[in-house]
Symmetry: C2
Amino acid sequence: MTDTSLIPFFSPKGVAIIGASLDPTKLGFGLSRNLVQSNYRGAIHFVNIKGGNLLGHPVHTSIMEVPEPVDLAVLLIPAEAIPQALQDCGRRGINAAIIASGGFRETGSEGAALESKCLEIAQKYRIRLLGPNCIGLIDTHLPLDTTFLSPPGPTPGDVAFISHSGAICAAVIDWARGQGFGLSRLVSLGNQVDINETDMLAQVAADPYTKVLTLYMEGVSNGRRFVEKAQEVTRSKPVIALKVGRFEGGKRAAASHTGALAGEESAYNAAFRRAGVIRAETSEELFEWARALAWCPLPKGRNVAVLTNSGGPGVTAADALESLGLRMASFQPSTQTALRALLPPAASADNPVDMLAAATPQQYANCLRILLADPGVDSVMVILPPPPMSTAGGTAKTMIPVIYTADKPVVVALMGERLIQEAVEHFRAARVPEYRFPEQAAAALAILTQRAEMLASGEKADESTKVQISQSQIDKVSSILDSITTVRKNNFLPTETVQALLDTYGIPTLPLALGKSPTEAADLAHQMGFPVALKLASNDITHKSDIGGVILHLQTPEEVQNGYNRIMRNAREAHPGAESNGVYIQHMLPEGQEVIIGTVQDSQFGSLLMFGSGGIEVEGLKDIAFSLAPLPKDEAEWMLNNTWAGKKLAGYRNIPPGDREAVVDVILRLAHLAADFPQLAEIEINPLLVFPIGQGVCALDVRAKLSNG
Amino acid sequence: MTDTSLIPFFSPKGVAIIGASLDPTKLGFGLSRNLVQSNYRGAIHFVNIKGGNLLGHPVHTSIMEVPEPVDLAVLLIPAEAIPQALQDCGRRGINAAIIASGGFRETGSEGAALESKCLEIAQKYRIRLLGPNCIGLIDTHLPLDTTFLSPPGPTPGDVAFISHSGAICAAVIDWARGQGFGLSRLVSLGNQVDINETDMLAQVAADPYTKVLTLYMEGVSNGRRFVEKAQEVTRSKPVIALKVGRFEGGKRAAASHTGALAGEESAYNAAFRRAGVIRAETSEELFEWARALAWCPLPKGRNVAVLTNSGGPGVTAADALESLGLRMASFQPSTQTALRALLPPAASADNPVDMLAAATPQQYANCLRILLADPGVDSVMVILPPPPMSTAGGTAKTMIPVIYTADKPVVVALMGERLIQEAVEHFRAARVPEYRFPEQAAAALAILTQRAEMLASGEKADESTKVQISQSQIDKVSSILDSITTVRKNNFLPTETVQALLDTYGIPTLPLALGKSPTEAADLAHQMGFPVALKLASNDITHKSDIGGVILHLQTPEEVQNGYNRIMRNAREAHPGAESNGVYIQHMLPEGQEVIIGTVQDSQFGSLLMFGSGGIEVEGLKDIAFSLAPLPKDEAEWMLNNTWAGKKLAGYRNIPPGDREAVVDVILRLAHLAADFPQLAEIEINPLLVFPIGQGVCALDVRAKLSNG
């Protein structure tokens, strides 16, 4: 699972610092100092053309003079000198290098050229590169510190941090220290000329000391590879990502509703969901959640008990828990009896359990033990404002043994600041997640539950949930696409072609006849059977209903002839130069629910499938969900469960239940088609008409667009 | 504006503590100690039946013995003894009392009876009561501390806190001290037997030291009075409320879509919006926002400049700002030139301004000065991770004079923990809001902008924006309602009556004829002109389209006769016992957009008006907004601007623009009707058909329900 070429980064036998400096004001000194002070146990070598002696080690004037063992080089010399130094490393047999220096791609085209040259040399000598323009990496357990940051570095811990930003690394180390949690590994990726976030993921996850991985991401290098690797990692260890830059994502040219709605954020959300990566919205959440995941057992369900010594914070906690989809646990009668025996009569033995302001440390501990023993309780939030009659520190100390021995998660809302400092320190030392407010504690429990449910759904997803598409179906679509000779200026395929593609993949469409004159249209309608619908046949005009290009419910040949003329007139008025081939005639179908199913090709993550409320108001109602395509059945179910269009398929008021299974089937098939043929830049069925249960669906209006070139 | 009877609470000439204790382990000692240590400058009197001497003051054995001046009593004796003590206070001429003791309503019915007795005595002697079961109050500037909380109390500051929870008060005092901001006044309301949150609002706002009011609310005593008083206060000082207990709100019986959707939270949101109260979602936001509002000038617009020394946090900041509706400012060319002259070539002089990691304190200060001078910049966020080459403290000190002299708000994202402590202290001392993460700093700027925009909209709302309803219209509705003699079991009014009510208030409805047999229906349809719609006339069956009680587009007398029979059969099958009076016949209208407008009577806030996407999927789409009724025109505009139904009135794709003005008019009129006649428990127009601009609207389907009793 891990890439062996990356091993020297995390267990080097010897490290050489090229650019070590005797001047304490230089970064090259800081780097040398950190390596020595980190207590790294391998060989330490300093290289500087000036020579000398530094921190008890000789300074070699060239990497070529450095004695064995040395398998990792850290370069902190001017950018122009890096290619030569890399070449020396290669000749010296070093296969791993960290380029800490800046002055590369981030400075413009000259720097970019220099960066490419470095990569070329590295590839020639099979050197893996971290950076350039990065802070380096830290492993607190090995230990190893190849950064030049001011001490103190992070304390050893169980949260790993991988970052696209070096500045964030410095802030995180300092912040983690203040927040009382340690780091296991920290990797600053810099310009990623070689090693990127995906490469590091499995490598860092392989560390036995790392219990949770956190990512600060500004993008991905290869979307699908990231999803694949992250999926492997999240099966064993939780990954939380803060993805920034969401408002910078370029807008797509909107050829379809799906295309207009598929922003970069939809793609990232779909990718994180598929990969099992938890997405944090703020920097604070990233680490608040990481602490809970690193330190707590996972809950078996959503039922939370709240233990408090005052009413107000208990209500706040209940609000926060329920808004996050958790439930206030109902207690067994024996639990209530046991609580009442311990508490004064005015206390509440219901959830939230309010022990009243005079609650003693012993009451906190005993009530907590009782709550943890209730089989209807999956997790507990303890709320501890500065107690008026005792100390928060004493209360913490008394509760900690109970929390230690529990197999259910306990988080603490430790409210206040100065009066709770001793309690803060006790809880942190005992690895009990504590937060200043009930809302944060509730969010931590919600994340633990999300992780537990993700692992559970992964276990049962083994059954085959994929739609079967045969080779002959694939071949047929290939030949249809190959036979397209004339590519229109807007790349849209003729409706008949789109219908043929969908038919081939088992998606029901409505037979369609092309009438090239009023009388031909009327004849075709007569053969088809009334009532019929007419639609303009034009490859130049996309949103046909917008210009009066669609007429429904025509009952007679005369109405069809008049309708034909009206559509042609509307088209000419709206788009004088546009080509019109006549009108399509379709039999009018019975009523059904209308949904939209569409696909786009995302530049980062490949095929995406969208499902939601169909019709023309798609972009206004925004009742939609996205998944990566192809997708397993449970993701199709997720999309249905998370949109009103999907929920409504169960029936609502006088809308009869729709054929939900048939909708899921179309989702899976269309996703397959988009994934099999990425040259189909966009495909959209809007609406897909959904008939009552057992009566199937019909793709009423379809469109598809080829990618450019 | 303020209630003179509350003056003794905040400027007493003399305070008597009834229940002062010589025993340092008792709350009665803590209370005495706090009063003395608070440096309260008026007369201090201690009362305890045992007498003695306490903290240099004699202890009187009865309140009757206490010498003048004394105008505020704080009672901390057993609950049973309170009525007698209150009576003594009354006889002594004391008109203000704080009952700190518990043992009242919160303990059950006996306690509630005791509480009522206290109120009775207080009313007899004209004593205003704070509590019982409260922590008391603090004024840090007078100064005065009537709480028994462990020292230290809050430092003097400019944020007031009014709370329904005593425990939260203790936590807030401690937390504020740790977060480095002071409090002006703190009021714990307890059981609110007399004085409630609304009473205290104006009283606390009148304090010249208070710049922002924060509220921890578990409910309101009188919704409309709260809105009215809060509206007065927010004109001069910002009010931020944390309202908890949102998931406890009882569900209404859902007689209409509006009733089903109007939860307690919709009412609170509408009330806060009307009152200009900013609603915080978490305890943390409450005080993070309060600091910004207390310490910063308000921005003139939404354009924010971000100043940073690293890319990552700058991107995070831009994300957060844009997601909150703020804009990244575009700089004038002269600003960019000035920045470039100060910064290295690789730095970014665009927004976010990235000075690179080596940025010096002087560069921070100078760039900040340049940004503040740009007329296109309304506010600035400075991002300061621990700088590698200088100290955060030094940078803070250099920037503070620039921030001081600016008339634009500057907030700081001071990232890290231990390395930034000195900077934290500098900023706090200078009253510059600092946060650990860019997201929180962005939220603070958004709140400042919201406050500025609220004040600006208040200024221009002077023009008359109310709909005119004459006395004769009101009288006519009164007489219609008075003439209703038979109240049906479900309290629904006959459709003709509802139409008459709406017509009277100037809301267009569709003429409706009642046919009691198939032939009568056909005749009426013929007179009205085809096509027509039929609808079941029944007071027992509410959702008529659900049971096949509505048929549209009937073209001939025969179709009407068949339709009549079909509706009757459907009604009999669905509700065998239900009464049916025949069918209503309406002329079919041209197509239009469909919206819903409804009202309900909220038990806390009175009449509420709902606007949104109409049809039968109202509850599924939840595209709705609520306002208090009656409402000014700008609130109607707000509802339209914040729903898809409202936005769509401007036209969308092939949906032509609708008559927006006519919709606003109906909103104002229906709100007026609901407010004028609160006995109309629910009124609903669904759909209101909206024709193209200038062609008006028509209330197609209407219902109204009387309140019980």
